[in-house]
Chain length 187, copies 2
């Protein structure tokens, strides 16, 4: 909650706690080292179930309020059973969720009351890559487009600046836009 010029701005984000965390972690870089984790169990075919529960942060083991599981699968047009989002769609959903959380947080910090925030995220994927048809085609998305529609007590310029700042601080935007080293092995 933020009180500005006699108006109460409440997007549901506790900015004071976040600014406090920033100050606390500025002096304790070890505590800022987080490790997130997911476990996965194959069900059948292309269907598997991923679960997140514990993670490491603030120098200690942490846990979600409850474990969260998501089933992923391939679509029926690839002769699968479509028991959940496809894995690339999980990335699109993560990107949307990350940018939207950022929009709410930045708007709160700037004293902007949001009324509604919706977005669509599209990713182009040439399946000639994953099917091994053309080695010149990458497996992942050729490009991603995110479009926000935001109703807020702010000018268009202010809304665009909030979205730009969210993008600048988004973990998933960075994960998608920039390379990350991934090591895969067998126990």
């Amino acid at each position: 909650m933020t009180i500005t010029e006699n108006n109460i701005i409440d997007n549901g984000v506790n900015v004071e706690a976040l600014l406090g965390a920033r100050e606390m972690l500025s002096g304790a870089p070890e505590a800022a080292q987080f490790t997130f984790a997911a476990s996965n169990r194959w069900v059948n075919g292309t269907h598997s179930r991923s679960t997140v529960n514990g993670f490491v942060g603030l120098g200690d083991d942490q846990a979600h309020r409850v474990p969260y599981s998501v089933d992923t699968d391939h679509p029926e047009i690839f002769a699968s059973e479509d028991n959940g989002p496809t894995p690339p769609e999980m990335v699109l959903m993560g990107l949307a969720g990350c940018l939207t959380a950022g929009v709410a947080s930045v708007a709160q910090n700037r004293g902007i009351q949001l009324h509604s925030v919706t977005s669509t995220v599209e990713g182009d994927l040439d399946v000639a890559g994953i099917l091994g048809i053309d080695p010149e085609v990458r497996n992942g998305f050729g490009g991603i487009r995110v479009r926000f529609e935001i109703d807020a007590d702010a000018t268009r310029d202010e809304i665009e600046a909030v979205v730009a700042q969210s993008q600048k601080r988004s973990a998933v935007f960075d994960i998608v836009a920039n390379p990350t080293a991934v090591v895969v092995d067998v126990a």
Copy 2:
């Protein structure tokens, strides 16, 4: 189902259909152009809901069997309500689901019967980036580790080769490991 040396190998993957799709799409590059999409609606604070339903592929509009929604949120230690996986965890779950679907598909194609496939995916995230403490720290994962445990009718070398081939053809592995252009705008 694959019949090899009088054994029936069934990991639940229809390899014949996938090989047929590869042959069909080799001669129809336009049909191989897919666009996946997610829509997102802000709920409150850092909590939002993403949904996948329709996508484009094989030159036509396609749809999931049913729409799939996932709520994402930030954890309680960031003063949020923890109503779902964090957005970076969505990427870890997508990566696990993608590699596991690939393991089942490649094993099927090689006539290897799987009995169980589990994995853990860990991603290191220094929150000094997203909190704006240190501009030299990236917002996303500093590195990701995936570890498989696989029980299959195969040698360790064969199992490692299946995992390596899955990684080589994984959409989400490529999305995470390599850069993708992301355009974010406001309607």
